[in-house]
């Protein structure tokens, strides 16, 4: 056995640039380590291919100096494995070969080696090659960190832009997927199947009559905060907020196979969350208010509508109009649901809370449609 062990760490320089020296000859490993440490680099050594692969896997170095002729796993094989693994493929590898051994160089290139160093090793050549690779390494890291910073900035911008319409959770999803699928809000208008939910405040007129402007705005903010939270909880997209009404869409802009269930749970959540607010207003202001909701499913158009000066990302079409009409008819704490949508949520709705309204002819509609009224829980009356 030799007197020098070529296994284990031989230096702990302050620099972050780490070199793994792989050589079964302990004197060669000690020599290379010594020269690299002299340049202020942190050096670890491995005496065979298997140990080298283990070290690369557990603590990937910034550079590998790899001897070709080793017992067991050869340098070529180590090189191939490092370059074949996505996680380690970018680690530069310098193969240390005999000067006259051109065959090894060809095999090294085939195995993915980045550079070669001849034995006997010349100090100046070793340092020059390592410095070059380190410069490349630093440049790559700098570019990578710039790319990551730009990516974070881009995602934040997307998240901010979208958070107006959707829950922060959904905005994060869009930001994450933006690179892969593009911006879902920039696409052309299209017809799509959706569920529209309209909610508004029963007793709003009395509220505005009985309170100062400042108080009305504060109360409306409180009301919209509650409804928005409920919509976001079930990943609904808020398309419009006007007066005291709120339009929420499901299955848009992203597919939600359970859009009907989400809409139903959102309606329940809105009524439940607004309950304590309504109770407080009644106590403080003597007001009797509640949320009325209309919901309908069907095909509608989604897209940016407006002029070059003002545009709104919105949904237009029959289910939206129907949901609006149903909302106008709904009492406080009541959810009016069009027939096709009710069929999709029937399994979730307790029978004793449902009353059929039969076929109803809505204002502006030529044909009557089946409507179901569901008592969502709130008892406040307009």
């Amino acid at each position: 056995m030799n007197d020098r062990s070529s296994d284990g760490s031989t230096a702990a320089a302050e620099t972050a640039y780490r070199v793994l020296v792989v050589d079964d000859d302990p004197d060669m490993a000690a020599f290379l380590s010594h020269l690299l440490q002299g340049e202020g680099l942190s050096v670890e050594t491995a005496a065979d291919g298997a140990s080298a692969l283990m070290q690369v896997m557990t603590a990937p170095p910034d550079l590998v100096l790899l001897d070709v002729m080793m017992p067991g796993t050869s340098g070529f094989e180590v090189c191939r494995q490092i370059k074949g693994d996505e996680a380690t493929a970018l680690i530069p590898i310098v193969l240390v070969t005999a000067l006259e051994d051109s065959e090894s160089r060809v095999r090294g290139i085939e195995a993915g080696a980045d550079d070669f160093l001849s034995k006997p090793v010349k100090r100046e050549e070793l340092i020059a090659r390592v410095k070059t690779l380190r410069r490349l390494h630093d440049t790559r890291k700098e570019l990578e960190s710039r790319r990551l910073a730009a990516e974070v900035q881009r995602k934040e911008a997307i998240r901010k832009a979208f958070s107006r319409y959707i829950s922060p959770r959904l905005a994060d999803r869009i930001a994450d997927a933006a690179g892969e699928h593009g911006d879902p809000f920039q696409g052309r208008a299209q017809r799509t199947s959706l569920v529209a939910l309209f909610a508004d405040l029963r007793g709003f007129t009395r509220l505005t009559e009985k309170n100062e402007v400042g108080a009305v705005v504060a109360m409306l903010n409180e009301y919209f905060a509650v409804l928005t939270e409920a919509a976001y909880q079930h990943d609904g997209t808020i398309f419009n907020m006007a007066g005291d009404s709120l339009l929420v869409g499901f299955n848009v802009p992203f597919a939600q196979p359970d859009a009907a269930e989400r809409a139903w749970r959102t309606a329940l959540e809105m009524v439940a969350r607004f309950g304590p607010v309504a109770a407080a207003w009644r106590e403080r202001h003597g007001l009797s208010v509640g949320v009325g909701i209309g919901m309908c499913a069907g095909e509608a158009i989604i897209g940016n509508v407006g002029s070059t000066h003002y545009a709104s990302y919105t949904i237009i079409g029959n289910p939206v109009n129907t949901a609006a009409r149903l909302m106008q008819m709904a009492a406080a704490g009541e959810v009016l649901v069009c027939g096709p949508l009710y069929e999709r949520i029937r399994h979730l709705v307790p029978a004793e809370r449902v009353a059929t309204r039969g076929d109803v002819k809505l204002r502006g509609k030529s044909e009557a449609i089946p409507v179901f009224a569901v008592r969502a829980g709130g008892r406040e009356q307009a």
């Binding site: 056995m1 007197d3 004197d27 060669m28 000690a30 020599f31 002729m69 006997p120």
Partner: protein, 101 residues
């Protein structure tokens, strides 16, 4: 770093590595002898290859030269040639002088 009448100039910063380097070379002579006695030419070839790489890296041109001769002789199973190299190697190690600069 040159080899001149068995005087070798070695970079001063390698001084700490030289004692172990020499102990390992002495052991190498014994390993070479044992491999030759066993007729293990593959091991002899590998030992020669190793000598060739490490010798001149430290500044010992002669070690690299002997290593190349051992490697070549092992390839042609030239026992006498290898035996001569081993004798020369042992003699060199016993007489080499090192000057650190």
């Amino acid at each position: 770093m040159t080899d001149d009448n068995r005087t070798v100039i070695v970079a001063k910063d390698l001084a700490d590595l030289i004692p172990v380097f020499f102990r390992n070379r002495q052991k190498e002579v014994e390993t070479l002898r044992a491999a030759l006695a066993a007729g293990d030419f593959e091991q002899l070839r590998q030992l020669g290859h190793r000598m060739k790489g490490v010798g001149n890296s430290y500044g010992f041109v002669k070690v690299s030269e002997l290593g190349k001769r051992v490697e070549d002789s092992a390839r042609s199973a030239d026992k006498a040639g290898i035996d001569g190299c081993i004798g020369e190697y042992a003699d060199y190690l016993s007489k080499v002088q090192i000057v650190y600069e």
